[in-house]
Symmetry: C2
Subunit: 234 residues, 2 copies
DNA sequence: GCCGCTCTTTGATCCGGATCAAAGAGTTGG
DNA sequence: CCAACTCTTTGATCCGGATCAAAGAGCGGC
């Protein structure tokens, strides 16, 4: 009913294989929603009534503990589907996706999931791969958290962000959305103080250029070395 | 060809809905394999040529880093499918499942995955849910690693093991497979020394009864309190 | 342009838990 | 029943990074 323009999503790999009618049908069930910076698409613990696709912008997915501690479990990039709790046999959302930049999402009611899967078998495969990749990233981060010190962990996190959201500039590669020291701390399991100190040190060595909610990486290779350096120097 | 007895798997929820012929067809493509204690079903990094179902026993899935550090990513319990890298768009196995107890697994060649999915749509749903649960567990552990101190983390890990592999006994609930202090350390991101100290303290308080590769939990509730205690005492 | 806010930087101190070291305790095989 | 492992316990020391504290710095609003 909303009548989302098919051209908005035509370029996404997920929909590449659909014909005009299928795409129209798909979009007829959906709604478009703008999410201003700082606003959450939904809240952790709420009943999962919709699932989503990010068109533009960037979302940070956070989880909070009972005592108010927060971590960033992942970043949602344009083209990613998210909030499909239904497929995971959940009735509520496990985290809160907050707009780090002005964002635009497509929403479907959860009831549509089964119908969509049936119409687009490719969607099921895609969803499975998506979850699979997230699982691998989660395991990688777990291993990092368990075995590495803070500096290599931060280097890994920054390299991942560059790979997922890097934008080439003359001076280096910029992380293409606003990210604070606090955010980086919540992604690596440390404090903003420690992140700040490390980034200052990197900046002194010319590896990165910092700034308020900004980060520009000048020497990717050097970061890679830091990321791989083992804590055992022997 | 191998002719696995259908009665072996009939009780598993995964196969409940199949009729006799479907089950026979399914098993005709599979092989049965015994895995003695300490042996790996496959090795991290090997090309994924098969996927598996654990019938009996228990497997610890480990990942090693370049510099030889190891962590336990998860434990595979009877009835779980594992090693289905194909579904995740991987060509090699991301971890090494080692038998913690004498185990029995069913193996299918990866080529069978697509055929099986087609014949048992339920299998796809099941696989998706399985990965979904693992993802949630991974995120939970990430949050714990990032925000909690060692003692609550260990308590959470033990409680999870009890839920997944607990066996009621007169004196409490036993973790139903051999698990060492080193294993617990690799599950919680600490050292065997610290695990040993904490378990000793718990034993002194009557919460658990330890032993060589053994653990019996007497007071689940008290462990729950430890697990939830916030590091901030204010 | 100046005020107030949020975010970042840097210094000083402290502590949880890693590391180093070595002695118990079960278990297996000869 | 003893020897040789492997696994666990416990003590002593040390240090990475958390915590506490406070001073910059960029940015938006009026």
């Amino acid at each position: 009913m909303a009548g989302i323009d098919p051209s908005l999503v035509r370029s996404l790999p997920l929909f590449q294989k659909l014909n005009e009618d299928e795409l129209k049908n798909l979009l007829s069930r959906a709604m478009l929603r703008r999410v201003p910076v700082g606003e959450a698409v939904f809240e952790q613990g709420q009943p999962a009534t919709q699932f989503f696709l990010l068109l533009h912008g960037r979302l940070k997915v956070t989880q909070v503990t009972a005592d108010g501690q927060q971590i960033i479990v992942r970043v949602v990039h344009p083209g990613d589907i998210f909030g499909f709790a239904k497929a995971l046999q959940r009735t509520d959302y496990p985290g809160t996706p907050t707009a780090a930049a002005e964002s635009l999402v497509i929403c479907w009611p959860t009831e549509s999931w089964d119908i969509l899967i049936e119409q687009i078998p490719h969607l099921a495969v895609n969803a499975m791969q998506t979850i699979g990749q997230r699982l691998q990233e989660a395991h990688t981060r777990l291993r990092e958290m368990a075995t590495e010190e803070v500096e290599p962990r931060l280097a890994h996190a920054v390299l991942r962000l560059i790979k997922q959201a890097g934008k080439k500039e003359s001076a280096g590669i910029r992380i293409d959305f606003p990210i604070s020291r606090q955010d980086l701390a919540e992604m690596t399991g440390t404090t903003l103080h420690t992140v700040s100190r490390i980034l200052s040190a990197w900046e002194a060595q010319g590896l990165v250029i910092g700034g308020r909610r900004k980060l520009l990486v000048c020497d990717t290779a050097a970061l890679g070395v830091i990321a791989e350096k083992s804590s055992a120097s022997k």
